[in-house]
């Protein structure tokens, strides 16, 4: 579905991605793991069109993505829920969700998607008139994911959905991510919480300083002793 091949990308003078390639198959959950600065967020920026690589290719169902601005990429069905949630604090919960549906032309179906999002996250429905800035961290994360779902993504990019959240809430959110995937949305999940991510993913890539250093099915990665030591904390 999405193929990144041999890209090099820079942030100013920082070489963020080096000869970098990944492949995301339709219907799967693929995860990118690694420490801060490994290139996870840069990869998402490249896919969303916020960062242009100097070489290499990015294709979505065979179509070259690099020539498009972010808004066009969104309307093609690739939606990102960014790191740190980045909800619109002065919008109500419902306004945030409606902003997520900005590119959609099928007005009559937006209400259906809204109901669907409220099904996933009943908490958001309870708080729909509340300003998003007043939500708790976990609720803001739900809102960020819900907002991305409002665009009806074919490919959903999730940047660190567990960041700063209590373990119980993380478990909740990962369960919902799995559910979203089961209902047909392909997911690229960027995480520092490697164990959680691998427990729901089909395939994983391990990144270090802008390069893929290891990849494999989630099972293989979970069983690999080097990876266990470095990323899963323990034996």
């Amino acid at each position: 579905m999405l193929k990144i091949e041999n890209i090099d990308a820079y942030y100013g003078f920082i070489h963020a991605l080096k000869d970098f390639s990944i492949n995301i198959e339709e219907g799967k959950i693929v995860t990118l793991l690694g420490a801060n600065g490994a290139g996870k967020t840069s990869t998402l920026k490249v896919i969303s069109g916020l960062l242009n690589p100097v070489k290499g290719s990015v294709t979505f169902n065979g179509e070259n993505l690099l020539i498009y601005p972010p808004e066009k990429i969104v309307s093609m069905g690739i939606i990102q829920s960014p790191e740190g949630r980045q909800i619109f604090p002065q919008f109500t919960v419902e306004e945030n969700l409606k902003a997520g549906a900005y590119t959609r032309k099928d007005k009559e179906n937006i209400a259906k998607t809204l109901d669907k999002v409220y099904d996933y996250f009943p908490r958001l429905k309870e708080r729909k008139k509340q300003y998003a800035g007043t939500l708790s961290g976990g609720e803001q994360q739900m809102l960020a994911i819900g907002r991305a779902l409002m665009a009806k993504p074919k490919l959903l990019l999730l940047d660190e959905p567990s960041l700063g959240l209590a373990p119980l809430i993380v478990r909740d959110i990962f369960r919902i991510i799995e559910e979203i995937n089961k209902e047909g949305t392909t997911i690229l999940l960027v995480e520092q919480n490697a164990y959680q991510a691998l427990s729901i993913a089909d395939y994983g890539y391990i990144l270090e300083t802008g390069k893929v250093v290891s990849e494999g099915s989630a099972k293989e990665l979970l069983g690999n002793s080097d990876i266990k030591k470095a990323y899963l904390g323990g034996n």
């Binding site: 969303s48 969104v74 309307s75 960014p82 902003a99 907002r147 665009a151």
Partner: protein
């Protein structure tokens, strides 16, 4: 009492124009973080266009105004495209210096094209004044207040209720995330410049009968629109409007009841006190935009 209301009326009239100009400033600031120091010069230029269409080409007043508003639309679009957008990666300070430079460019162009003389430009409505219980009301003043109200109502409806409004407010809060939601933020910038330039042109054209049309005609309106925006709070859209009206009314009341010579000092003294008490402006919340 009649004198009091007379002054309130005059205050609302000029205050409306400050409010229009202030709203333009805030619209650009909220969406793109740029303070357009050249707003006054741009308004002056558009007013000259209206005057030239009317006086030079002999168009009727409404046609001349419509022509000038179409000019303002293009003017705002072009300024954003040519001067602001290429600098989209530059620091905010650089962008503000660009708009300072625009003052020179537009001011220079205006004196080269239109000359440095000042011209009388008619009022929008030149009917005789009405005496309402001792208060002399000029139909033109009523017209200015009414048109400002209509424009504000339209703009607030757009900002709060429409999809375009969602795009504007989302961009104002978090530009990067707005892009991730598929909001074309560059179109939003472009549109806010266009709307602001049109608002400025309207303020200029309605101000012209008082100040005459000249290259320096907008100096005071521009300065006061700034103060209105700061007083009301740059963080909201309605604050600057109310700020503009307050300044218009205070100016007149202090001039009437306290001292004409000290009015500027007293009014701005009050403003400074207000800002010391509430630094974000009367209606302002802390405005911090994530970048």
């Amino acid at each position: 009492m009649a004198i009091f209301f007379q002054n309130i009326m005059a205050g609302l009239e000029t205050g409306s124009l400050y409010a229009l100009a202030a709203l333009g400033l805030v619209l650009i600031f909220r969406t793109s973080d740029v303070i357009n120091f050249a707003q006054g010069e741009m308004a002056m230029f558009s007013t000259f266009v209206a005057f030239t269409l009317f006086d030079g080409l002999g168009l009727s007043y409404p046609l001349a105004v419509i022509g000038a508003l179409i000019f303002a639309l293009l003017f705002g679009f072009i300024v954003e495209r040519i001067f602001i957008r290429p600098a989209s990666d530059a620091s905010l300070v650089s962008k503000m210096i660009i708009t300072l430079g625009l003052i020179m460019i537009i001011g220079g162009l205006a004196s080269a094209i239109f000359g440095i003389d000042s011209y009388y430009f008619r009022q929008a409505i030149s009917a005789d004044s009405i005496d309402a219980a001792g208060v002399v009301v000029q139909p033109n003043a009523l017209f200015i207040i009414a048109i400002t109200l209509v424009i504000m109502a339209g703009l607030f409806y757009m900002i709060n209720k429409t999809k375009v409004g969602i795009a504007i407010r989302a961009t104002a809060q978090n530009e990067k995330t707005a892009r991730l939601m598929g909001i074309p933020v560059f179109k939003v910038y472009s549109m806010s410049w266009i709307i602001a330039t049109i608002l400025g042109a309207i303020a200029g054209i309605l101000m012209a009968p008082t100040t005459n049309v000249s290259t320096t005609m907008m100096a005071e309106v521009h300065l006061k629109s700034f103060i209105a925006a700061v007083l009301g709070g740059f963080g909201s859209f309605h604050g600057p409007v109310i700020g503009g009206l307050i300044i218009g009314i205070l100016d007149n009341l202090v001039g009437m009841y306290i001292s004409l010579t000290w009015k500027t000092v007293i009014v701005y003294g009050l403003l400074i006190v207000t800002l010391i008490v509430k630094p974000t402006g009367i209606f302002g919340k802390t405005h911090r935009k994530k970048v």
